[in-house]
């Protein structure tokens, strides 16, 4: 109880009971169910969009092609260039899957962003780490490590400082920052919505009028979280593309 509010502990807002009598490593909880639903939504969406290809796109096809176009023109062409188009299916998957996993945050009944749990951001960040390092070694061979640690155009005494910083930032910090950025943003948004929902409920039960302001803010923040969901999906995807592009072309 804080200031008369029964605010649930954080674990109650993000930890979910195991369902259907499942336990252990394959236990199914709300987050897992939402992961499945996200897979279903993304797969069915793109499946439907690809089924009836019309010359003038409408409906689902239009949205799907806009997403493809956005990933292709807005992300890949801007960061990697034409040779990055090979990664379109992967980056499209990352963008749409992260977005759908995020948007559960504001869907009534679900109201739990999958990425407010560390599992998925961490897995995807590790996958991205593996991919961009693989691309780096494939494109530059053993010189990849040298190109990363010793960027050209730096006076040589500075390499004593720069090389360890570059090494740590590329190989250690990147996966961490990539996953924590997504996770922390979604968790913060989730907690923010919970806070205002709890506040609105408490004030409605006590004073009614007092709930107007937090209620209005709750509605506004729900809209804001739609933006955050899309923005975080975009940021995760464009950073993935930037990492892959950087590994593909060493700095000149």
């Amino acid at each position: 109880m804080i200031l008369g509010l029964d605010f649930p502990p954080i674990s109650h807002a993000i930890e979910w009971r195991d369902l259907f009598g499942t336990h252990g490593a394959f236990a199914i909880n709300k987050v897992v169910l939402l992961m499945w639903l996200s897979v279903l939504v993304v797969a069915v969406f793109f499946f439907i969009a690809s089924r009836r290809q019309q010359l003038v796109p409408t409906g689902v096809q239009n949205v799907a092609e806009s997403a493809v176009d956005f990933v292709r023109e807005g992300i890949i062409m801007q960061t990697i260039g034409k040779e990055g188009l090979f990664y379109t299916p992967f980056l499209l998957t990352v963008f749409s899957f992260v977005f759908v996993c995020n948007i559960w945050e504001i869907i009534p009944g679900a109201q739990m962003p999958v990425n407010a749990r560390m599992a998925l951001p961490m897995l995807m960040a590790l996958l991205v780490w593996v991919i961009f390092n693989f691309v780096g070694v494939k494109n530059q061979g053993i010189r990849y490590l040298k190109n990363v640690c010793f960027p050209p155009g730096v006076p040589w005494p500075l390499y004593i400082l720069v090389a360890p910083i570059e090494f740590v930032s590329t190989f250690l910090v990147r996966p961490l920052s990539l996953s924590v950025r997504l996770f922390a943003n979604m968790l913060a948004g989730h907690l923010l919505l919970i806070s205002f929902a709890v506040l609105s409920t408490a004030l409605w039960n006590s004073t009614k009028v007092g709930a107007v302001l937090p209620g209005a803010l709750l509605i506004g923040l729900t809209g804001f979280e739609i933006l955050v969901s899309a923005l975080q999906a975009y940021i995760f995807t464009i950073l993935t593309a930037v990492y892959i592009g950087g590994a593909m072309h060493p700095e000149h």
Binding site: E15, D18, F26, V39, V42, F46, A49, L55, L92, L120
Partner: protein, 233 residues
């Protein structure tokens, strides 16, 4: 709230443990835990709370028992399902969604490209036709001007010919008229001369009352007239 019932069981279990001195000494710690848990479960304790009994018997604190799992570290089940989900969504999109969308978008790109090419070709063709048409119009204009010029020249030539013809006709008629006049004049003179001779003879006969033979008279008169005519000319 939810910890109340198990805690009751827990207390009961602790009472059992400490109140039964003979049992406490004789039984091993594990057996005590087992019995305490069974009792707690019997009294409606939930699994997570019942497990606390063991920790408490081991000397841990209630806080350790109820410590919330870290909100940051991912649980194993979510990691496993997350990995399966991501691989599944990638494979589904890659195999079933992407080829169709890619083919559709490429087809549209090709279509637009070919339409633009066709439009460009049509424009070029139209420009060619226009140039040809303009050339034809220019030709036609030149031809018309040439025809008009020809007509004008022909008309001029005809005019000149007609004029010359008319002048020639006039000159011919004038000379013919002159010669006719000359002939008529000669004729008139001749006629007049004969008439005058006859009149003169008659007059002379009467005057001189001497009848010369007509031949001599005539000769005489004509010589007279000649003289007169020569004198008048």
């Amino acid at each position: 709230m939810r910890t109340r019932a198990p805690l009751a069981g827990l207390l009961l279990a602790l009472v059992l443990v400490f109140v039964g001195p003979a049992a406490a000494n004789a039984q091993s710690s594990d057996q005590v835990k087992k019995e305490a848990k069974e009792l707690a479960e019997k009294n409606g304790g939930k699994e997570a709370d019942v497990n606390c009994i063991g920790d408490l018997i081991d000397g841990k604190r209630v806080d350790d028992c109820h410590k919330a799992p870290s909100p940051i570290l991912p649980p194993t089940n979510e990691l496993i399902w997350g990995a399966i989900s991501f691989v599944a969504v990638f494979l589904l999109l890659w195999k079933f969604g992407w080829p169709g969308i890619k083919a559709g978008m490429n087809a549209r790109t090709e279509r637009i490209k070919s339409d633009l090419d066709q439009a460009e070709a049509a424009r070029t063709e139209a420009e060619g036709v226009l140039t040809e048409y303009q050339a034809q119009v220019a030709d036609a204009k030149g031809e018309a001007a040439r025809i008009i010029e020809d007509a004008r020249q022909t008309a001029d030539a005809m005019k000149r010919d007609l004029q010359a013809q008319a002048e020639a006709d006039i000159a011919a008629q004038r000379s013919k008229a002159a010669s006719d006049i000359e002939a008529a004049k000669a004729q008139a003179l001749a006629d007049l001369r004969g008439e005058v001779a006859t009149i003169a003879i008659g007059a002379a006969e009467r005057v001189v009352e001497r009848n010369l033979d007509p031949e001599t008279n005539k000769a005489l008169v004509e010589s007279f007239i000649d003289q007169v005519g020569a004198g008048r000319n």
